[in-house]
């Protein structure tokens, strides 16, 4: 998947629900690239859900344009557009009168897929979300746990193989343990399927964990749209810094990656021993440094082509900043 190919382009989009009220989404522009996992983070009423729902035209923008895969959404048949975009909502929204298999096959059936192809697809999707096909296919939604329902919701959204997945606080009503499992499952699915995902959440942890980039939104305006490392190292304004708690040590240590602190990368030698990977969290780096403050920690980049170092002094500087 070409990560430089624009998949969703939002251009100067504004949404006003009534004339006298402030706009819910205020002149927003951004681009999400093919295969990118974008999280939209904000408090309730920030406009994050409204922004997402304009992509599949559940809301129509008051002004501005949205392009999906290069095509202006406004010029397309709305049902066709939505059939090509997976959609997952909080509280799953599964059809109670239909079995798990029928739920997953929804869009395949609308698109009049061959029966056998659909059945095969249902099995694949259930396997993808880690539910045993033969055990779950014939069940009804009310016979599933909350986590299982949400897995079926994801399977249903992915069944017709859309390029894009829109997710509206999908794990908001799930307990903490199952939420972590689902988040990990989703990251795995994303790696396997390379979908472009727009994921709305109000949970900072979730947004930073899942997103390649996170968009922080307030009063209908984008405050910053960047990777978590950039958000922490270069917050664009006080709101971003405050909201994410970038000055708080625990937050820094948890979210910042080792790779973000390396200032000069060098070509990797063959003996890249004792190295941590670039996405190791800062807390782990500090733990290693504390054992032997004299020796800088070696960081190995993702593709293992480059190495860099983090020195004790760098951490100390970060603390004082």
């Amino acid at each position: 998947m070409d990560k430089t190919k624009p998949m969703i382009q939002v251009e100067n989009v504004t949404k006003k629900f009534s004339k006298d009220q402030a706009p819910s989404v205020d002149n927003v522009s951004f681009t999400a690239y093919a295969g990118e996992f974008v999280t939209i983070l904000g408090t309730s009423g920030s406009g994050k859900t409204t922004l997402m729902k304009m992509i599949n035209r559940l809301y129509e923008p008051t002004s501005g344009q949205i392009f999906v895969d290069g095509q202006n959404t406004h010029a397309q048949n709305v049902d066709k557009l939505r059939q090509g975009i997976g959609y997952v909502i909080q509280q799953h929204g599964l059809f109670e009168h239909r079995t798990v298999a029928q739920n997953i096959a929804t869009v395949c059936n609308i698109l009049k897929w061959d029966k056998r192809k659909t059945q095969k697809r249902v099995d694949e999707m259930l396997t993808l979300v880690q539910l045993e096909p033969d055990k779950y296919k014939g069940r009804h939604p009310h016979q599933l746990s909350g986590g299982e329902q949400q897995r079926v919701g994801i399977a249903r959204a992915l069944a017709a193989d859309p390029k894009i997945l829109l997710m509206d606080e999908p794990f908001g009503a799930i307990d903490a343990i199952n939420r972590t499992l689902l988040q990990n499952a989703l990251l795995n699915i994303q790696r396997q399927t390379q979908k472009t995902i727009i994921f709305v959440t109000h949970d900072i942890d979730e947004a930073l964990k899942l997103g390649d980039r996170t968009m922080l939104i307030k009063d209908g305006r984008i405050q910053q749209f960047a990777s978590k490392n950039e958000l922490f190292l270069k917050p664009s304004n006080d709101f971003v810094a405050e909201f994410l708690g970038v000055k708080q040590r625990l937050a820094q240590w948890r979210y910042l990656n080792a790779g973000a602190l390396v200032t000069d990368w060098q070509a990797a030698q063959s003996d890249a021993a004792a190295a941590v990977s670039a996405d190791t969290i800062l807390a782990d780096v500090i733990a290693i440094l504390l054992k032997n403050p004299e020796r800088p920690v070696t960081v190995l980049d993702k593709d293992k082509a480059r190495v860099g170092h983090i020195h004790y002094q760098q951490i100390a500087n970060l603390m004082e900043a």
């Binding site: 559940l58 939505r82 509280q91 109670e96 009168h97 009804h140 009310h142």
Partner: protein, 216 residues
């Protein structure tokens, strides 16, 4: 059980007459129920999808509900005179409100998330109605039909008053002749038909509710 014997005897000696009245009663009830179901479900869907006008439609049908069944039967007299069709019209009017109101509330009770999911997947209005909304409201609609069926079957007894025929004929006849046995010839079959319809629709309703997970 002397009365039962004399009842069976009466039916046997007046067999053709009894079968005729029974068939008129069933025809009145079933046709009225079919027409009312068609109109009631259509109006219920319309009201649920157009809330502003819908509220007025609901109010109107709630109003009809207040009118006693005998009054409706008598009210059609000046319009259509005596006979089968006036009785059919009156029974149909009587049967519409429960079906319509239950269709409306069944549709309105559907979880908004379910509808949002359907919209989000690009189902389109028509498909959403037939594949999602009506099946999910089915148990509620069936409950409405069940209520209407009882209403129609029992009120069809009164149709005899406006010359509509049916099993009510025996009740009127029995009353004028001071003969309880003749009255029972009308009353007992009506009771049995009402019970049978109640059982059939209740089972159907139970099955639908269980399928949708509304029961434990």
């Amino acid at each position: 059980m002397k009365w039962l014997n004399s009842l069976i005897e009466y039916i046997q000696t007046n067999r053709a007459d009894f079968v005729g009245n029974l068939s008129v009663h069933l025809r009145l009830s079933i046709i009225a129920l079919l027409i009312a179901t068609t109109i009631g479900i259509t109006a219920g869907i319309y009201a649920a999808h157009h809330l502003k006008i819908g509220n007025r439609i609901i109010g109107f049908f709630n109003g009809i509900r207040v009118i006693p069944s005998l009054a409706i039967l008598v009210l059609v007299l000046p319009l259509m005179g005596m006979g089968f069709y006036p009785a059919l019209l009156a029974l149909t009017i009587l049967a519409i409100p429960p079906i319509m109101l239950n269709t409306y509330s069944g549709l309105r009770q559907i979880n908004p998330n379910t509808l949002e999911a359907a919209d989000g997947m690009g189902m389109g209005r028509t498909r959403r109605l037939y594949k999602i909304e009506l099946p999910l409201a089915a148990s509620s609609i069936v409950a409405g039909v069940r209520l209407s069926a009882i209403e129609v079957i029992s009120s069809a007894t009164l149709a005899a008053f406006i010359g509509g025929g049916g099993l009510g004929t025996y009740i009127i006849m029995g009353m004028s002749m001071y003969d309880v046995n003749i009255m029972l010839v009308g009353a007992i079959p009506v009771t049995l038909i009402a019970l049978a319809s109640e059982i059939v629709f209740s089972v159907l309703e139970f099955y639908l509710r269980r399928k949708h997970g509304e029961l434990g």
